[in-house]
Symmetry: C2
Subunit: 498 residues, 2 copies
């Protein structure tokens, strides 16, 4: 059999990391900027981010969180308040040291040195903590639940579009509570919001769980995560929700008068997801022809492509397409209006079709004089082959579009689940474990585990494999750690990861 | 007559700048952060910003602009490409010089010095220009219309909440065109979008016009502005739209193959508004009892306050209020659902009423056992006196709410227009002019003008008055400049300003 031509080269099989970069390129989602480590998010990618944002924002608000905005800069002394925290971020901070430019020997140089350097926020626990310590006085001010959508900077040396960049767009929620239980509960509620969005909007099956000590957020008591399997078997940490205990409230002295009249420290949480979610969508659903978008968050649902062979049929075809567009735009899909693009660019129809396949639009509709005469349209689902035409009467097409979109959503979710279950295995011996992770087609290994940092370090050194999470929902099953023979309460997820 | 008590002290009359700060405080919109010059925007203020954003965003999209995202940092060398531009911003730049922190003598200090310092964007013409020069190849790629919602930093020495801060939230649109005419037309289209939002959403009457040479954006050929009068007679520049000619396209070499096959430079524009619009709302509409919100962008439209005198009536009152809330939330006002707050906090009803008056919510509804027995509700409009009760049957109240909201919107717009017309005068002699601007109740002076930079400088030095704009829509009328006697083609707006 000869090799099938694909729109993306190399294919996933040939070179997965390079395929990833190429999908971003052919779908025109983003690109590297000339500023080291920073990316430019282009309209198609940004619109996807806006849809994800809006879905999350609605759910946060249902949980009682409100949006606010805190400063970009954090005084160095604030960052130092929590020892583990500053240690975690000191190595990758952008530091502002001057506040103007001055000409010197015909060259502009930094001038006006600041008394105290400012760090561009890598995350905002410390600056928000400072404000919370002013705002919170009594139990009446609690719980306090704020969220901000903003940019942060972590000076990464090796960057990859959407997955790891110096500047990151994200959301960070910060809450303060009277009791440990309430804070812990909120941490889990927000984890569930994320899982809901991941599975039901992005169509990405995830495993939720706790992080081990080695993988916790700097300054957290407990970090919850949700992890997905990419099409190369690697895990992607999609977001985290942290129970911060009283670490930050003690560091920033966020105290309140309790119901009993005592001065006590609040319990805090923080939780965030980034544009990395776009990376997750790409690596979970896309194929060798480019992007595949989950219909529920797609920037547009349908493209209509006119086929005009003779100039004299152009008007007829165009007006038919425009009419169809209007009818489709009156439909609703997943609580929103159906978004339709009529591609009337001056280009060959075949080229246009491939343009939209690469961009991952869920449905492509082609209309030519022949279709019009028959009162039909040709419909193509992005999840089928590029030439798998479905011929429908126009009425039928209009009627079934929401169902077709939903079937695409379901298809890609099921496909991802199936893929994951094929690459998830139970492993009970050290030999098997080392053997498994030496193979190219390794994935998630469910193995027993006893908290012992040195074991995790050794495994990471030997195999570049880490404990992705201690799952919350998998059935508990006692056993022994295959590395130490120590008793284990449950299996955890080991994998290579991004 | 004894002095009436007001919720805000001092009053506008007593001390306008301090009144402004106090309104922001009592309405809980924002506050200064401990980071010099940066503010914290609190939920009530941020929600107002979100509504303004969403109104603008819709209109931008109608004009064909798409959202994207460009890096926070700009290499120093990029900023230098356009000489006037860098000169305009060099004195107020936050400069990143290091990329990590390191312990030295037990203290954390900046380390990892960058080869080339990075400037935190004060605006993005140069970095976006760099990308446009890569993306644009032929006339087929034009026009290119992108917008981004982001933060910028301008190191201001004297800051004021919303009006002038070091970190600013804004939107910046950047477009590139084939011809001068098209670019100039787009510049004006966007100015019109702004004026529409200002007048029809924020209820702020504005004068649109061109800036003089002295007041232009650094690097622009022509800057358009829209200016409003605050309640102290001063002008506030609410936003600007710049025709950049080929200045930036030449600096960044953004060229394209024209329809005739020649390599030519594109024509560019940029346009932006900031959270300063919130300052404009405060200073245009608010009164000595606090904030007054335009219903069309208010975070919430109605608060329901229960009056419970005896514990046994509580349940009855609460369930009546909740039912009312539900009915009101089914209403639409200005293409959105009516937003209702039921204030069930454990506080006296009178305190609650003042809380919401200060926050500027358009309508307050009070419900007690007496109202329930009568099937009535008490409705208070924020634009009436705090005790001006309107008694209505519940049905009638529900039915008329959208109209009541709209009447508040109209009232504050008309009020602002009337205020402005009272403080706008035609002035024809230098003596009159100097006399007018020496008085406390000065406002806008319409005077003849001949472009002569030295005159503007002198007036600014003597009176702290500048040409706010050369109006576009005011009737043209020839005359002579009162300062030089030179011929003038039209009157311009002179005023003190923020």
């Amino acid at each position: 059999m000869s090799k099938q031509r694909t729109a993306v080269s190399p294919t996933r099989e040939e070179n997965y990391p390079e395929w990833y970069q190429q999908v971003i390129k052919v779908a025109d989602l983003a690109e590297h900027s000339p500023v080291r480590g920073c990316m430019v998010i282009k309209p198609w990618g940004f619109s996807l981010w806006e849809n994800i944002k809006s879905a999350l924002d609605k759910e946060f608000k249902k949980k009682g969180a409100q949006n606010a905005y805190f400063p970009l800069f954090i005084p160095l002394s604030y960052l130092e308040k929590e020892a583990t925290h500053v240690e975690g971020f000191a190595k990758e901070c952008a530091v502002v040291t001057h506040h103007r430019l001055e000409e010197k020997d015909g060259k502009l140089v930094p001038a006006g040195e600041l008394e105290e350097p400012l760090v561009v926020r890598p995350t905002s626990e410390t600056i928000i903590g400072e404000m919370y310590s002013k705002w919170i006085e009594s139990y009446r001010d609690l719980p306090l639940k704020l969220n901000q959508w903003c940019n942060i900077v972590r000076w990464e040396m090796r960057t990859r579009l959407f997955l790891r960049t110096a500047e990151i767009l994200w959301q960070e929620g910060h809450t303060a509570h009277e009791t440990k239980e309430e804070a812990l509960d909120l941490t889990k509620q927000m984890l569930d919001v994320y899982v809901d969005i991941a599975e039901n909007h992005l169509a990405i099956p995830v495993i939720k769980g706790r992080k081990t000590e080695a993988e916790k957020f700097p300054g957290a008591e407990e970090t919850f995560t949700f992890e997905a399997m990419m099409q190369d078997g690697k895990a992607l940490q999609m977001g985290t929700s942290h129970f911060l205990g009283q670490n930050f409230s003690k560091a920033s002295d966020i105290s309140y008068m309790s119901r009993e009249g005592n001065l006590e420290h609040v319990w805090t949480t923080s939780w965030g997801v980034t544009t990395r979610l776009i990376g997750a969508i790409i690596m979970t659903h896309s194929d060798d022809n480019g992007m595949v978008l989950p219909p529920r968050v797609a920037p547009s649902h349908i493209v209509i492509i006119p086929f005009v062979n003779k100039e004299e049929t152009k008007e007829k075809v165009y007006s038919y397409c425009q009419e169809l567009k209007k009818e489709l735009e009156e439909l609703n899909y997943f609580r929103k209006e159906v978004e339709v693009i009529f591609d009337d660019r001056d280009q060959r129809a075949g080229e246009k079709a491939w343009h939209w396949i690469k961009k991952g639009i869920p449905i492509r509709i082609e209309v030519g004089p022949k279709e019009i005469d028959e009162g039909m349209v040709s419909l193509f689902k992005r999840t089928d082959g590029p030439k798998d035409r479905i011929k429908l009467s126009k009425e039928e097409a209009v009627k079934t579009i929401p169902d077709v979109l939903e079937s695409i959503q379901t298809t890609i979710f099921e496909r991802a689940k199936e893929y994951r279950s094929k690459r998830m295995v139970k492993i009970d011996t050290k030999e098997e474990f080392y053997d498994y992770f030496s193979k190219k087609d390794c994935g998630f290994a469910l193995a027993h585990y006893n908290p012992e940092q040195s074991v995790e370090e050794k495994i990471q050194q030997d195999l570049n494999v880490t404990v992705r999470c201690i799952p919350i929902d998998l059935p508990k099953e006692e056993g022994v750690c295959p590395f130490t023979g120590a008793p284990s309460k449950q299996r955890v997820v080991f994998a290579k990861s991004y």
